[in-house]
């Protein structure tokens, strides 16, 4: 179908994929159909030439989103069209990702779709569902590796650059194997973008590895000792796990930011992730505000499932923390032992997984919190509506016609808001449910694999020990 149409000229007449969304079918066909129909209300964005020409003759090896101008809706749309496989493109991906504002100001759930006159949430929901279903049945074929940490630069401006290699047969990527160089702040930038887009919708976004000023300073200063190499290695492994988790999430995988991260050779510096920066301080303030908020919100939990799940996660969190502490002690002692006997400490791997999961669970809790906030908004809207109605009633009594009209308008506005709030809330609840289910499955798999790996490495160690002692025995016997 792409071949049939003539490639839309540069710079004008771009169809959006938001047309025709009353069409409740999968978004892809709707996208196509909109492209078939004469384009209307084009997005006034400057477009990179490559993406458009990709239309006509199948996937060209262009870099998705290569252009830094990510305000470009259309790039995504045309890119989608040119794909062979029925990749479904949720509305999310077509969304420009603005500067990160952690506080959610809007009442809309769908990420920042501004002034589109369609029932975006509905379609969003359905398409997401379909994506999920397909993701469950799909062969999940993408492998990510983080390797080759290299020190770039010198002195305090130095940083470690990691090579991110992607091997995939998913056709949403233009190549099947590619690698880029990224630094740690790039990872953090990716995470904050994903978090701002998806967290308040109810998705569990995997948390990024933590910053460590001490560790990085040591590396920067150029100490070549074992602790700094260890630090770099740990960080590399953590980054790899982070990316693998993110990629496993079917919705996040579709995100253009993620793809850009994996594919484009140049990435705009994510300065908001610097440890000491204005954005950092803003984040801290927001976190504090959130904490206070959490304490004051008392939610009437009508849904038993959520309550149970939350309780479960609380318990799990506690248990994992305890286990984490014990395993940390184990790691310490094994290190001591190995330092004294020159063996190898393998329980560190366990530790890694545990700390990852502790943070993941924190992310899960965050998602629950968002839901609470959503609910609160809804409540507020209802209260305001009530107030407005009262005001109107008062006006009626006082018989001021113009004020009455105004009051009526306000009431209508707030009614709409209440409805919206209700819908949002339901939305987020549904999303969370699905996410939690997926999270659980992942967790089971993850834990199992790591545990098995750990035990196998223990077996290996023991076998080596056996070998050494067996070799030693005849020598001991030969002592004369």
């Amino acid at each position: 179908m792409a071949a049939e149409r003539e490639p839309p000229p540069l710079g004008d007449g771009k169809p959006t994929d938001f047309e025709d969304l009353e069409d409740g079918e999968d978004l892809f066909t709707s996208t196509v159909s909109t492209l078939e129909s004469s384009p209307s209300s084009p997005e006034p964005a400057s477009l990179p030439a490559e993406d458009i020409s990709a239309n006509s003759n199948g996937p060209k090896p262009t870099e998705v989103g290569l252009d830094d101008d990510r305000e470009d809706l259309f790039a995504e749309a045309t890119e989608e069209v040119s794909l062979d496989s029925p990749e479904r493109e949720p509305i999310l991906s077509s969304e420009p990702s603005p500067a990160i504002t952690p506080v959610t100001p809007t009442t809309l759930i769908a990420p920042r779709i501004e002034s589109k006159s369609m029932s975006a949430p509905v379609i969003f929901d359905r398409s997401r569902e379909e994506i999920e279903e397909e993701a469950n049945g799909d062969i999940f074929d993408i492998e990510i590796g983080v390797s080759d940490p290299e020190k770039v630069g010198d002195g305090m401006n130095a940083y470690m650059a990691y090579r991110v290699t992607t091997k995939t047969s998913l056709s949403m990527f233009s190549k099947s194997e590619f690698s880029v160089k990224r630094r740690f702040s790039d990872f953090l930038g990716l995470h904050s973008k994903l978090a701002s887009k998806y967290l308040h919708v109810g998705y569990i976004v995997p948390p990024a590895p933590e910053k460590s000023i001490v560790g990085m300073t040591k590396v920067k200063v150029g100490k070549e000792d074992s602790s700094s190499t260890e630090f770099v290695e740990k960080r590399r492994a953590a980054l790899e796990r982070y990316l693998q988790r993110t990629v496993k999430h079917p919705t996040l995988l579709q995100d253009p930011d993620l793809r850009q991260f994996l594919e484009s050779s140049e990435l705009p510096r994510a300065v908001n992730t610097q440890a000491l920066s204005g954005a950092g301080i803003l984040r801290m303030v927001n976190k504090a505000a959130d904490a206070v908020n959490k304490m004051t919100i008392k939610m009437n939990e009508s849904d038993a499932w959520f309550e149970e799940k939350q309780q479960q996660f609380e318990n799990l969190d506690q248990q994992l923390r305890k286990l984490h502490a014990s395993v940390e002690a184990l790691v310490c002692h094994r290190k001591e032992l190995s330092a004294n006997t020159a063996a190898f400490a393998k329980s560190a791997a366990m530790l890694e997984l545990l700390s990852d999961y502790i943070r993941l669970i924190a992310a899960v809790k965050g998602v629950f919190d968002h839901r609470m906030k959503c609910w609160q908004k809804w409540e507020d809207a209802q209260i305001t509506l009530l107030k407005k109605r009262e005001a109107e009633a008062k006006m009626m009594v006082a018989n001021k016609p113009d004020k009455i009209q105004q009051a009526k308008n306000e009431i209508r506005e707030w009614e709409a808001k209440v409805q919206q709030g209700e819908r949002d809330f339901e939305q987020i609840s549904k999303t969370i449910r699905k996410e939690v289910g997926r999270f659980e499955k992942e967790r089971v798999k993850d834990f199992k694999t790591v545990i098995i790996k750990y035990l196998e490495s223990l077996v290996q160690t023991q076998q080596q020990l056996i070998k050494y002692w067996e070799a030693f025995l005849p020598e001991a016997k030969a002592i004369a």
Binding site: Q312, N315, L316, Q319, L320, K322, L323, A325, S326, V327, A329, L330, H333, R334, E336, L337, N340, T341, E440, R443, V444, F447, K448, I451, I452, L455, E456, L458, V459, Q462, Q463, L465, I466, W469, E470, F472, L473, A476, K477, I479, A480
Partner: protein, 403 residues
């Protein structure tokens, strides 16, 4: 806390055997030991058909200080200057264990009941192990004395073994301790001086060789002992670590409702068993390796002392020679100088002879003991490693088998 420990060793009852090695005409053992608050009372049992003793079998109760007294008596005795005096047993030290037990008792709210019980068990086992060790040390000391043809005939030894009453040997008070300390300093300074003296030439190659060897050996073995201790402690800590891990895993397991549940529970079990294994590894290492190293550290110190005494005798001899020469040139007090020189010469030669014998004995003893212990250690380690591999493999199979 009262603890009894049996430290029995089989001995041949017949007195007629003229076995040089384990001469059974005098057998000493510590048949019982009681630990009271801060003292340990050993019951020393002697079986002998030697004429010195009034009875053939008797036992007395002795405390640690009395052992030390006996050891010092030997050291100060000029007659035994040419012999390696078996090193004194170390003070029974339950401090560390007691502290840990106390801390555990004070309670930690985050520790579950099972964990607490297990930790208490561990600590009690540790306490018992230390106790057994100290009894063994004291016993070995006595038995070496009894086995040595010269040392066993010491009068103090008989008193120690037989005298029914308390020897009223008070522990060294501060002045005596200080005195002992100073004497040690003087001794090492003296040793340094003697060896540094240009005039002193080692007449015998054998001793020269032994000297260098022993010095080196002593430092090396002290190092090895420290390291072995550290390894042993690390193993022990590792084993202790498994306790909270196992507990946390089992509580996780009871919480889970999905497939992870059985996995966690199995893991908890696994760690429990691993813990026991590691604990055993630690204690084996302790017994076979660390203890042996420690003992030989002290023994080599005793051997070094012997060499020092001999050197001292040699120095005295040389000095006496010089004095004699001086006296001869001045032709005054030649007689006393001569007799003094004679004495020194005799002493020196006596010391040299016995020292030679002793040192060779020491070497053979050391070699055989190392051999035995190292073989046993290797075999035990192998056994434990195989056992843990087995456990791990079984758990792996179980885990993989589940969906």
């Amino acid at each position: 806390m009262e603890t009894h420990a049996e430290a029995g060793k089989e001995g041949k009852p017949s007195c007629a055997s003229v076995d040089l090695q384990g001469d059974s005409s005098l057998q000493v053992e510590i048949s019982d030991a009681v630990s009271e608050r801060d003292k340990v009372k050993f019951t020393v049992q002697t079986k002998s058909c030697l004429p010195y003793f009034a009875r053939t079998e008797f036992s007395v109760v002795r405390q640690h200080e009395e052992f030390i007294w006996l050891h010092d008596a030997y050291v100060e005795n000029e007659e035994y200057a040419g012999l390696i005096i078996p090193p004194a047993p170390p003070r029974p030290d339950f401090e560390a264990s007691r502290e840990k037990l106390q801390k555990l008792g004070e309670g930690d709210s985050s520790v579950t009941r099972e964990e607490f019980a297990k930790m208490k068990q561990e600590l009690e086992a540790e306490y018992l192990a230390i106790f057994k060790k100290t009894v063994a040390m004291h016993e070995v000391f006595l038995q070496r004395l009894a086995a040595h043809p010269t040392l066993r005939r010491d009068h103090n030894f008989f008193v120690f073994l037989e005298y029914g009453q308390d020897l009223s040997v008070r522990g060294k008070n501060r002045k005596e301790l200080l005195g002992g300390f100073l004497r040690n300093i003087v001794k090492s300074a003296d040793e340094a001086l003697i060896t540094g003296m240009s005039g002193l030439k080692e007449v015998d190659d054998f001793f020269e060789h032994e000297r260098t060897f022993l010095l080196e050996y002593h430092t090396r073995i002290r190092d090895a002992c420290l390291r072995a201790d550290r390894v042993m402690r690390a193993h022990k800590c590792l084993a202790d670590d498994y306790i909270p891990i196992s507990a946390a895993l089992s509580s996780l397991g009871t919480q889970e409702v999905n497939q992870l549940r059985t996995s966690f529970l199995k893991l908890a079990e696994l760690f429990e068993r691993l813990r026991k294994l590691e604990g055993r590894v630690a204690s084996d290492e302790d017994l076979k390796l660390s203890d042996m190293l420690r003992y030989y550290m002290r023994d080599s110190q005793a051997a070094k002392d012997l060499l020092y005494r001999r050197l001292r005798a040699l120095a005295d001899y040389e000095n006496a020679n010089k004095a004699l020469d001086k006296a001869r040139t001045r032709n005054r007090e030649v007689r006393p100088a001569e007799s003094h020189q004679q004495l020194c010469c005799q002493r020196f030669e006596r010391l040299s002879d016995s020292a030679k014998q002793e040192l060779m004995d020491f070497k053979s003893r050391r070699v055989s003991s190392f051999r035995k212990n190292l073989i046993e250690l290797a075999e035990l380690e192998l056994k434990h490693a195989k056992a843990s591999t087995l456990i791990l493999r079984n758990t792996l199979v179980a885990l993989k088998g589940e969906p």
